[in-house]
Amino acid sequence: MFLLVLASLLLLPAGSAIAQDDPGRVLLWHAYRGEERAALESIVRSLNESRSDVRVDLLAVPNEAFRQRLTAAIPRGNGPDLFIAAHEAVGEWSTNGLLDPLSFPASLPPDAFIPSTTDALRFDGQLWAMPLAFKSLALYWNKGLVDAVPGDFESLLATEAGDFPLVYEVGNFYHHAAFFHAFGARIFDADGNVDVESPGAIASMQLVGRLAATEAIPPEADGALVSNLFNAGKAPFVINGPWFLGEIRDDVDFGVAPLPRLKEGALQPFLTVEALYLAKHHTASDAAIDAVVEAIGGREGSLLRAQRGRQCVPLQSAASDPIITNDPVLAAFVAQGAQAVATPSRPEMGAVWEPMNRALRRVLRGAAPGPSVAEAQQEIGFYLRPPPEEANPTPYLVLVGLLLLVGGAWAVRRAKAIALVPRVRSALPAYAYLAPAALGMTAVVFIPFLAGAAVSLFAHSGGEFTFVGLRNFARILSSQEYGVTHPLSFWFTLVVTVAWTVANVFMHVSIGLGLALLLRDPWMKLKGVYRVLLIVPWAVPNYITALIWKGMFNRQFGAVNAFLDLFGVEPVSWFSNFFTSFAANVATNTWLGFPFMMVVTLGALQAIPRDLLEAAEVDGANAWQRFRHVTLPLLKPALLPAVILGAVWTFNMFNIIYLVSAGEPDGSTEILISEAYKWAFTRQAQYGYASAYALMIFGILWMWGRLTARMSEASA
């Protein structure tokens, strides 16, 4: 049987082997979709047809896996030759050694591009990549509601049409940056230090706080709500980027214009420059790479990308072409691009987003702007603190050696004491049953885990690991940056995580068990229909259903408040209070998780012989007594594994929190695992610290596992 399984595994079709030796083959990774992808493919196709010595292969990698894939693949020589990505990570990638500087072909010198776009791609005095397109927010207006775009922001706010004069994602710092810059604030000061508590920053927060308080803009707007209000004709003006073009309904007559002026200055959104990067360890020849760069970045390719892919292209000879200047939408974005501030590409920028989003949302909930940004400044300082000092590995090695010696001696003695060898020999058949699973688990789970765990003894910065011993752990446990009761401290998050786990497991088990009991009886009518309908929440990918739940909890437009309204309950602002926000998370996860527990319980219930229950009934036991004294005890062995594992999974279930409450308010509904992810992937890739965090989580769960083992032994 196992041979059969192994054979079937080997017969699975393997992916095509990559021919890495052909210098004319250029592998290009991108994350484009829709028309942008079509434009890129059409350029590449004609290049492949016209040049027999060059062959370009494209690979679309989903955005969410893009960075991880680059980080994993490039150092091991599995990366692409070229890739297209935004400019923000140029600092991180170049310091982490993922890039070679791209040499601009003679026909496309750096000064052929709009200077602000090449400036964005410079880091440490080096121009790393070639700009292909730039994107920024601009103003969309509904021509059916208003006749023209007002020249200044104040008259725009005075517009009477629609439910709100202006709608945009007000709680997102990326969108707020336009106001931040208008007041003269900048994220980095002249010396390259983060400064988000300048008077301009405070004034910009004050302004949006006032706009939200007077309901001039809906304070809980996310992307889906913005496009809904615009399409429904409820908002004459929307601030959004070029990606919004695809979300506007065909029958809405709209225009795009640069953002209006504030009294204090022009609204300057962030500018994102998409660029063509050359990966380290690329294998294609310089000639082949030049050919690809010229085809995509050159005038012809630029015009095609502008026309078909609706991209704003930075090549000046293309940008001045009538194709672009006569296109009102592209022209508006080009004009806005000249009035934009490139998103800082310093690696430190990764630590700025999260605290600034929190500060912004505090202000939207009515907090004073000054203290809010001061807190953000402090948090950023914490995320960017220098790594722990390098430690001397010798004492650790000595300690490990000693432990191994003592442990080995103890193990040998213990093995002799309990006569291990003969017992193992007599249990050989058992090991034969175990071997296949044990081998697989060791290779795929335990070895990678040990490797990952070892990282916790190091600090990662700029592509280099330094040994720091246990100092990462000391930092986490001492929680010196925050008081224990602060929402961002390790201990507070631990309590929330435990509460989250208990609440979810309780809901899953009670609902799943209840439904399974209702649906188990053979005489129950329609039971098959109910069963299939009730597992639907498990079957649909939770990424989208979690988002729908978030929408259902929207204060102004959500179904939950609409339902409560039927009973005369005032609208609840679910995400501005810890308990309601936590409840929203639990409700969503309960909905997602009860079908699994129902299915497990249905299976487990079959372990209970029906005649036992019938005997109890004949003996006069009522329904509760039968459940309590017959069903439950017999159910326990088959149900306990699901409960224990369910608790472990819930403990580490961060994506629901990320998608529903996003930690609101003030990061208080985050759980431990989300912190580990943030340390690894935002906040400057502090892998060592992230790994230490993950190990702490592991340790907590391990202790919990010991505890439950004791409990189940005691009750057995």
Binding site: L12, S16, A31, E64, W538, V540, V599, Q606, E617, L634
Partner: protein
């Protein structure tokens, strides 16, 4: 007992059960109706209201995913379906085979390291993925399993195995040992007992673990998006995830894909549910 049965088997006798189930089913389906509405509304322009039914119906979002082609004009959708089906079924087969045998050992044998082994399985569920991704990539690269469906199956099966073993071990424990002792008296080998007696009696638990293993592989995208070197070797969830952009998500297309992805799961559950509710009692065994 026939006097009870008469009343409970009628609609009137079980009305309160139906009342509860209808309410719960409606709550379970309401958000899913929204997914359907988003999928059927062209583009991303679904309206906002508490009404979960679409005001216009179009299949353009479905066409976007089903009609995906690459530069060579290959119909990518069918490659993705094929890969997803192969990987998920192989994961189910491998997962069940390995975990049935391991769970049997844990349930019926005593051997040194038994408790440690069960503990180690639980421990694997506690490893946060953040520690594992890069080492796993390096391992797959070193063993030449990068960019192969076999590598994915290995990763998914080992992800699913710990739950499967725990679940099956718990269920095996409830099967009376007397059955096996009788068979041994009749001269049957351990292996025969395992295959001929224990496995058939455990159909409910095997059905649960099969569904679980299948889902583990069916919905995973991060590893598949990181390991596979060609768009024709992606799986369906990877294709779906491409609709999630840095700044915006094509919700209409994502919803359409989500529906296509969940239909096979429902079908599988429908096929398995008979086994789920026919266990010991249906096997004709009276303890």
């Amino acid at each position: 007992m026939s006097r009870h049965v008469d009343r409970r088997t009628t609609w009137v006798g079980q009305w309160w059960r139906h009342a509860i189930l209808i309410v719960v089913t409606m709550m379970a389906l309401y958000p899913v109706l929204w997914v359907v509405k988003m999928a059927l509304t062209p583009g991303d322009s679904f309206d906002l209201s508490a009404n979960p039914f679409p005001s216009q119906v179009s299949f353009s979002n479905f066409e976007d995913l089903v009609g995906s082609t690459d530069m060579q004009g290959r119909k990518l959708f069918w490659y993705w379906v094929r890969n997803s089906v192969i990987v998920s079924l192989a994961t189910t087969v491998v997962g069940i085979a390995l975990s049935c045998s391991a769970a049997y050992a844990f349930s019926r044998f005593t051997f040194p390291g038994k408790d440690a082994g069960m503990g180690a399985l639980l421990v694997t569920q506690m490893f946060p993925g953040v520690v594992m991704a890069i080492p796993l990539y390096i391992l797959m690269d070193a063993t030449g399993l990068l960019n192969s469906l076999t590598g994915l199956v290995l990763c998914y099966a080992t992800t699913a195995i710990p739950f499967c073993i725990w679940m099956l071990k718990g269920y095996f424990d409830t099967i009376p040992k007397e059955l096996e002792e009788a068979a041994i008296m009749d001269g049957a080998s351990r292996w025969t007992i395992f295959i001929k007696i224990v496995l058939p009696l455990s159909r409910p638990a095997i059905a649960v673990t099969a569904l679980f293993s299948f889902m583990t592989a069916w919905n995973e995208f991060i590893l598949a998006a990181t390991f596979m070197a060609d768009e024709t070797s992606y799986t369906l969830p990877v294709a779906l995830q491409r609709y999630v952009g840095d700044y915006s998500t094509q919700w209409g297309a994502f919803a359409a894909g989500a529906i296509l992805v969940s239909i096979p799961v429902m079908a599988l559950f429908f096929a398995l549910q008979k086994n789920l509710v026919e266990g010991l009692t249906a096997g004709g065994v009276k303890g």
